[in-house]
Each structure stands twice: as structure tokens, then as C-alpha cells.
């Protein structure tokens, strides 16, 4: 057991995956000497060589497209996209190639590509550095999409992603990179299945679903709610495609209430998918309409406004009040 930041936990997961399989290669901008702008790949080029930790030219379509070729040739590329907002030049390769090749070739060609993306806001960054583009990828058939929230999961999940024969988008909560926790690096890779959710806090009154950076916020909300006598069950989804609906459904059947939170904008998002699916699955167990607490349907705002975009503890608690039928900001407003 060692105490690691989330960033170091991913680093140690990458190291382990590279030790275990010589076909694992890392590709990205500034991932070599610099160790990536968040230092997630720190020291890996020194230890594994420039042929396995490859500083690429500055081109995201190039990174993903060459990863496709490497995968064709039997490699397991792990691509780093420097920031969420820079994935779009590579979007075409991801959606049109990476996602579809297994299907088109009737399984003959595997695309075991992992695409690491630091995502989300809350760090006071300039534009294109705080986005949450996960829904685009969850909406694309053929891609698996996962997001870690804590160092232990981060360590295992990056290894699971690399070991997976399907392409995986791995969303790293950048504002939690410096969160420290004990990590057991000896845990078996299948300690939990890659697509499974986790009950982060057990509760009885309402189910609060989160992933990535907002899991900690959700846990804080649960603590605050407990002070008011409300017991929240917090679910850390871990996987966004597929979503572990069995776990969410079982919880909602117990609590009768659902709140989903994410930083990404609301419309057509992960929250919408969960609200719809849970309503289909256990409509008669719901005591209130599901609530979404999300970023607004606006481009990610400048840093000085991000507190008015990002879901926080108070906005989550306000939605909890709503599903609990308690007084809340919209009481009597008809909004």
C-alpha cells in the first residue's frame, strides 16, 4: 500500500501495464521529457525509452490515426490528449475509425486503444482547458467510456482500459489530480469489472449519481445532507458507456429518488440518459421526478464565471430538497 496522488496512481498503472505487455506504447504531446503537462507520464520515457513513450508532432488526428495503424499491427497504444478541448482535431479518427473497425471487419481487427483525456473545470484555466466532452463519445457506438474519481480506482481502471480489447476513452478528473489516497497496487485487475459502478456512500433517502470530479462533491453533499437528517446514497458510476444501470436501479428502488450530477452541459447528456433509463426501469418506484444538476447549456465560461457554471454542493442540495419535496429554490415558482 502506498499513498499516491491520482496523477501518480495513473502513472503507476501505466508503468505496470508497460511492464506487463511490451506491446503497450504511449503517444502524445509533451509526454516524454516533460512528463505531460500534468506529469502523469513523468519518468516513463526515461525508463521505457523514446520508442515506447513517444513525443508526437503536434497533431491530434495524427496521434489517433497512427494509433489505429499501430493497433492494426498488434500494439496497444495509449494516447494522451493534452486537454479535453484539444480532442476535436482527433474526433474524426475516433468516431469514424477507432469506434468502427471492429464492427466493420466483423471482429477481425481489434482496436485496443486507450485515449486518456484530462477533463473538467474548476482550475481557473483559459478556454478549451475545462471541457467535459464525454457524452459525444458515450453517444458513439463501439467506444467504451470510463472516468475515475480517486487514486485507487484510477490505478486499476487505467490498467483495465489498456487490457481491454475495445477502444476506451479514459477521462481523468484534472482538478482531482492532486488528491491523495492509499493505493493498493497489488489488487487484482478484476477486483471489480471495468463497467461497474461503486456505491461510494450508502444511504436511504435519495440516490445521488456522479462520476469523475463530482464524486467528491457528491460525497461532501451527502455529509452536509446528513446534518439535516437526509441520507444520500452516492453512486460513483466509473463507467459511462456502458452504464451499470443494475446498480443504479437497485439503489433507486430502495430510495425512490434520483439526482444525477455532472459538469457537462445538461441537454442530451449522461444525466438525460440515466433519468430516462431509470424511469423506464423503475417508474413505479419513483417518488419524484429525477433531477439533473449539471453545467448549463453554454460554452464553458471564462474562469471568473466558472463557479456559476459548475454544479456545487449547494446546487446539489437544492435538487435533493426538490426530490425530497422540501422547500427549495423553485418552490411555488412553476419553473
Amino acid at each position: 500500500m502506498s499513498t499516491l496522488t491520482l496523477s501518480k496512481a495513473i502513472n503507476s498503472g501505466l508503468r505496470r501495464a508497460m511492464d506487463d505487455d511490451p506491446k503497450v506504447v504511449l503517444l502524445g504531446e509533451d509526454i516524454g521529457k516533460l512528463g505531460g503537462v500534468f506529469r502523469v507520464t513523468d519518468g516513463l520515457q526515461k525508463d521505457f525509452g523514446a520508442h515506447r513513450v513517444i513525443d508526437t508532432p503536434l497533431a491530434e488526428a495524427g496521434i489517433i490515426g497512427t494509433a489505429v495503424g499501430l493497433a492494426y499491427r498488434g500494439y496497444r497504444p495509449v494516447c494522451e490528449i493534452q486537454f479535453d478541448g484539444f480532442i476535436y482535431p482527433g474526433f474524426d479518427q475516433i468516431v469514424s475509425q477507432v469506434a468502427k473497425l471492429h464492427y466493420r471487419t466483423r471482429g477481425a481487427v481489434k482496436m485496443p486503444i486507450t485515449i486518456r483525456v484530462p477533463f473538467g473545470g474548476g482550475i481557473g484555466a483559459v478556454e478549451h482547458h475545462s471541457e467535459s466532452p464525454e457524452a459525444y463519445f458515450a453517444h458513439t457506438a463501439g467506444l467504451r467510456v470510463i472516468s475515475c474519481s480517486n487514486p485507487q480506482d484510477a490505478h486499476l481502471m487505467i490498467r483495465q482500459a489498456i487490457a481491454c480489447d475495445d477502444p476506451v476513452l479514459f477521462f481523468e478528473p484534472k482538478r482531482r489530480y492532486w488528491t491523495k489516497a492509499d493505493v493498493d497496487e497489488s489488487l487484482a485487475l478484476d477486483s471489480f469489472p471495468m463497467g461497474s459502478a461503486r456505491i461510494a456512500a450508502a444511504g436511504t433517502d435519495a440516490t445521488l449519481v456522479a462520476y469523475g470530479p463530482l464524486v467528491q462533491t457528491a460525497l461532501d453533499a451527502a455529509t452536509a445532507a446528513a446534518d439535516e437528517g437526509i441520507s444520500l446514497e452516492v453512486i460513483d458510476l466509473r463507467s459511462l458507456s456502458p452504464i451499470d444501470f443494475d446498480t443504479v436501479e437497485a439503489s433507486v428502488r430502495r430510495t425512490g429518488r434520483l439526482v444525477v450530477t455532472h459538469e457537462a452541459q445538461q441537454s442530451f447528456g449522461i444525466g438525460a440518459e440515466i433519468a430516462a433509463s431509470i424511469t423506464e426501469r423503475c417508474f413505479y418506484h419513483l417518488e419524484a421526478a429525477p433531477e439533473r444538476v449539471t453545467g448549463f447549456d453554454v460554452p464553458y465560461p471564462p474562469a471568473k464565471l466558472e463557479e456559476h457554471y459548475l454544479p456545487d454542493l449547494d446546487r446539489i442540495l437544492d435538487a435533493v430538497d426538490r426530490v425530497m419535496g422540501r422547500p427549495n429554490s423553485l418552490s411555488g415558482q412553476g419553473l
Partner: protein, 369 residues
Amino acid sequence: MTAPGEKAHPEEAKLLQLLDADGRRVPDPELERWVEDVSTDQLGALYEDMAIARRIDVEATALQRQGELGLWPPLLGQEASQIGSARALREDDFVFSSYRENGVAYCRGVGFEDILRVWRGNSGSGWDPYSINMATPQIIIGAQTLHATGYALGCQQDGVDSAAIAYFGDGATSEGDVNEAMVFAASFQAPVIFFCQNNQWAISEPVGLQARRPIAGRAPGFGIPSLRVDGNDVLAVLAATRIALDRARSGGGPTFIEAVTYRVGPHTTSDDPTRYEDSNQREDWVRRDPLARVEAHLAAAGFFSDGFRDGVKAKADDAAARLRAGCHSLKDPEPMTVFEHVYSSPHPALERQRARYTQYLATIEGGNR
């Protein structure tokens, strides 16, 4: 191994220069006729611009260190590339830049507080692009080269002789957008200038990773004439940009300019170059400083008097003071502006979110929670 008929090392594109690192005039009859009209006085003015750009940059870096700005991308060392090119432009030309061209913005007449708005986290754009004919600086590497090309096509269709100029870095030349821009510009002979500041780095990646041969050598393959210029020589940069503008205005189509310079500072204030940069390399380039050579040249011409130097310093200090004052004058944006300008007319889903959040803020402020 070379294939038959292929030269192992085709000659490197010639580096254009008019002032060497010691400030001596380098004779180049072809090039110097483009700056024949530049008097010692005017060279003094270019020097002053560079000194002010440097002072603004230093002040902004200090403001970042003091917590007033979230981030700042220094231009230190690239003053000649930015001032020499920007001073060649006409008011009706249009600039599409990256985040680093704050010296260019200064030449376009940007307000001091407007330079900082984005970096302080107040706004997505520092200025109204039409107010200074300079687009909102681009962070998505290379995207602006296509925008410049499209703008230039518009000028061409309108039958005016304005041109567009795209500023981008050596790293950007690897992006698809930049290569597509060159294809479009060449196909339609767009009046656009591709101005690449090769400052030797894309964050930690040396230029050799993006280009095995001089970057200027790439454009001719697209059918675009190319110039490789000493980017620390303000006079040569001015001349090269004038050549390109003349071609653009007279229907000759695009030009590619590689300004060979050096990023003396960090990539941004968040960067730590000690992890990747050899300090000897930086020292080498500091010896080729863009201001020092003009200073030496003006001194030799008897122009760099104490009076001149003090005058420049006073103007630079004044610019720094105005920048700092501008920074402090920026008020935090109002919360509800987060919902503004997403669309040009109301969008129902967003309006509902706005109404609910207004109500929410009122409740919070009313102390219900």
C-alpha cells in the same frame, strides 16, 4: 541512402537578414529595397515598439506571478518577429493570431485592459475583433490559418486589396488545419500571409520533431512561395512581410514566411523549461537579441542618445503602468452573463435554465439555504 537523382541535403533555404546580431547592416540588394524608405528615425520607432512590447510582456508576467492573471504566454525574444510584421500591415488588413501575439495586438492599437481580459479570466475575447481588425486570439493550435484564408477569399471576392495574415508557431505546422489552409490558399490564390514564428519550441518539443527540414521549405510543395527570415531582425521581417503583402495586394496569392526566432521565456507562466531546455541554447539565442542589435545599430549611427533611451524607457514604463491600471480596472463579470450571447436570439432550453438559476441565486442570497 539516397535514391537516384535525390540530393541527401538539398540546400537549406537562405536566411534573410538585414541587421546581424551585432547590429551591422547585411547587404542584400533584393531585400533592402523593400525598406529603403525606413529612416533612422523610423528604425528608432520600431525599436520603441519592441521595447514597449517587451515591457508589456514583462509586466503581464509579473501580474500573473502576483495572482492578478490566471496565465500569461510570454513573447520575450520574439519582439522583432511581431513588431516587424505587424508594422507592415495596413489598418484594413486583418490579423488572425495565436495566443502569443500580444506585440501584434499592441501594434493594432488594442486597449491595455483588453490585452488582459482573457488572461484574467474575465472574458472569452479581449476585444471586438472589428475594432482593431484582429480576430480573437486562437488557442486551438493552427485553426486560425483556415480563418485567415477564408477571410482573404472574402477580400478577393469583394475586389479590395486588403490582405489577411495568420500568425502561428512551428508546432502548429504539424496540425492538419495548417496544411489544409495552405492547400485552400494556393488553390484559390488567396491574399493571405502564413506567418510562422519558429521559436524552436512547441512547449517541450523541439522544432526538429515537427520538421526535419526548415519549415519554410514546406510551402513551395503546396505551390506557395516562401521566405525564411531572421526573426530577430526587425528590418528583415518588415521587408519580408512587405514582399508578401505586395504579392497579396497585386493578385499574386499567398506567401509563407518562416521567422526564425527563439522563445526565451517559458511556454506560459505554468511551464517549467528546466525540464527540457538546454540553457546553453537559450544563452546562444539571447546573444542574438532583437532589441540589442537595433540598439547597437542606432548607436553606431549616433542616434541612440541618452535622451532617446530615456524617452523610450519612459514610454515603456507608462505602458506598463497603464497595463497594470487596466488590469485592476477590470471588474468581475456579473454571474448571469454566463447565459449571454450563446445564441443571437432566445433559445427555450437555455432560457429555462437561466430563469431557474436566477431564482436559485435569489434564494441563496435570500439565505433560504
